[in-house]
């Protein structure tokens, strides 16, 4: 497997003591990877480290073979990302925002802006200021920004947050179609396993800043077991082991 994203023993500790410890993770070309874990597990931190929004204390991160942050520009040239929230310039229209983003990718055809806005269903609202958009529309606009450069890898952090059932289904279908038709790889972080679970073929489960399980879905999840059931069993298992360790410590 050709890894397009490699994170090796990455650690980051914040002043409040939280962060991630020795996290390793990789994604192959064309894969849809899911990063799951409870709130505060470190999923967003890992995505921020991958996209250079935070610098790691230790470990290495490579995007398409380029070390981050040393060769950030080359590494990120084939990556689209929506991290933490669907951030948009409220005082600009969807089209203007795409125009700004397109400047970073020389050679991108002008028609690409119309194409991505069509893909996410924002064509009728392309001239409207994003400040008037609903949360779901902002998420679609953010998704359009991530898809604009015809990326080979898209990183999505909680892409269904705040979306209604129809919006969640739309995002899921868009990801499914892009992965199938254009061979785009995705890394999707979510604490709601139901939303994205159907799509993924590689998974990583994080808890308290550590990657407790990771690998291909077919290797990890036994036949007949749902992803949700597997996830819960792993979380409980780790929690149980921690509780036992704590109890042993107290008894000793």
């Amino acid at each position: 497997m050709e890894a397009i994203l490699e994170a090796k023993e990455v650690s980051k500790r914040f002043r409040n003591g939280r962060g991630i410890r020795n996290v390793s993770f990789e994604i192959g070309r064309g894969e849809i990877a899911g990063l799951f874990g409870p709130n505060g597990a470190g999923k967003t931190t890992l995505l921020k480290l991958i996209t250079g929004l935070i610098r790691p204390d230790r470990g290495t991160i490579r995007l398409f073979g380029c070390d981050i942050p040393e060769r950030f520009e080359q590494g990120m040239s084939r990556v689209g990302a929506v991290i933490e929230t669907a951030d948009v310039y409220e005082y600009m229209s969807a089209y203007d925002q795409m125009k700004l983003a397109a400047r970073f990718y020389p050679g991108l055809p002008k028609s690409r802006i119309d194409q991505v806005l069509e893909q996410v269903g924002l064509t009728p609202y392309r001239g409207e200021k994003a400040g008037h958009y609903s949360l779901g529309m902002k998420m679609r606009l953010a998704l359009a920004g991530a898809l604009l450069p015809e990326p080979q890898l898209v990183l999505l952090d909680e892409p269904t947050n705040g979306l209604d059932i129809e919006g969640i289904r739309d995002v899921r279908l868009t990801i499914e179609r892009l992965a199938a038709e254009e061979g785009i790889s995705f890394l999707i972080s979510s604490h709601m396993i139901d939303d994205m679970g159907k799509l993924i073929d590689r998974l990583g489960i994080m808890r308290r800043g550590e990657m407790i399980r990771q690998g291909l879905r077919r290797d990890l999840v036994p036949a007949g077991v749902t992803l949700e059931a597997y996830y819960l069993s792993q979380i409980r298992q780790t929690k149980g082991a921690e509780d036992d360790g704590q109890l042993d410590g107290e008894l000793a």
Partner: protein
């Protein structure tokens, strides 16, 4: 197009799309016109015929470099940095293929262009207003005007860079703007309170252009002040860049 150029164009477009930028640029045209009208009515009303109108470009330069342009630059610096930190739109830039140092440089470059455009607009508008109000533009007056407006660029850039430096410490636009304005007001009071310390204040040179016209100031002093302002620019830029590079979003 390189990532620096792309980001610089984007930053300029973002500044342009803000209403206050358009309002400020409109004021660079309207205020000289109003100033010319006020001066000519003053002259005709009081029969003072010694050509107050011929000082219009300098009067406007004084008004803009002491008050209006610094205030606008404070707001633009806060919008570009603290505003983007607060609204988290900074991630829209930093998750594109551009290094942090280039992203920072592009924002500063956009502010520098804004200073140049503002000064150019004020000069053109005041020179035109002066001509239209019957004042004569002499060749030496024209050259003095160009020299004064061009020399005002460096202290304004220093003021902008100091604002950029201070803006890095905040994630709240109102707090950042409040502090930057407070520092500016205190610095402007410095010559009255501690005249000897005021020499070292970067804000003491907003009317520096007046030294460049008339040829009364030794070139050694001009060179010293140029170097001082340039040093402040370099220090503020590097200080701002270091904080921007280390920031986590």
């Amino acid at each position: 197009m390189g990532s620096l150029t792309a980001s610089w164009l984007n930053e300029m477009e973002k500044l342009w799309m803000r209403r206050r930028t358009k309002a400020f640029l409109l004021s660079t045209v309207l205020l000289p016109a109003l100033g010319a009208a006020a001066l000519s009515s003053l002259q005709s009303g009081t029969a003072i015929g010694f050509g107050l109108g011929s000082d219009l470009p300098m009067l406007m330069l004084g008004l803009f470099t002491t008050l209006l342009l610094p205030l606008f630059l404070f707001m633009a610096a806060v919008d570009s940095f603290t505003g983007e930190f607060a609204s988290r739109t900074i991630k829209l830039v930093l998750t594109r293929p551009i290094s942090r140092s280039k992203a920072f440089a592009s924002k500063v470059l956009a502010l520098a262009v804004l200073i140049a455009v503002s000064l150019g607009a004020v000069w053109l508008a005041s020179a035109a207003a002066e001509l239209l109000s019957g004042g004569g533009l002499t060749g030496s007056g024209l050259i003095d005007g160009v020299v004064a407006y061009a020399s005002a660029f460096l202290p304004m850039l220093a003021v902008a860079l100091m604002s950029v430096l201070l803006a890095q410490r905040f994630h709240n636009s109102a707090g950042a703007l409040g502090l930057i304005v407070l520092v500016y007001v205190l610095a402007k009071l410095l010559p009255f309170l501690f005249p000897s310390a005021a020499v070292w204040s970067v804000y003491s040179y907003t009317n520096w252009y007046s030294l460049w016209i008339g040829g009364g100031v030794p070139s050694g002093k001009l060179l010293n002040t140029t170097l001082l302002l340039f040093s402040y620019c370099v220090m503020a830029y590097m200080g701002g860049l270091m904080q921007f590079e280390r920031k986590r979003f």
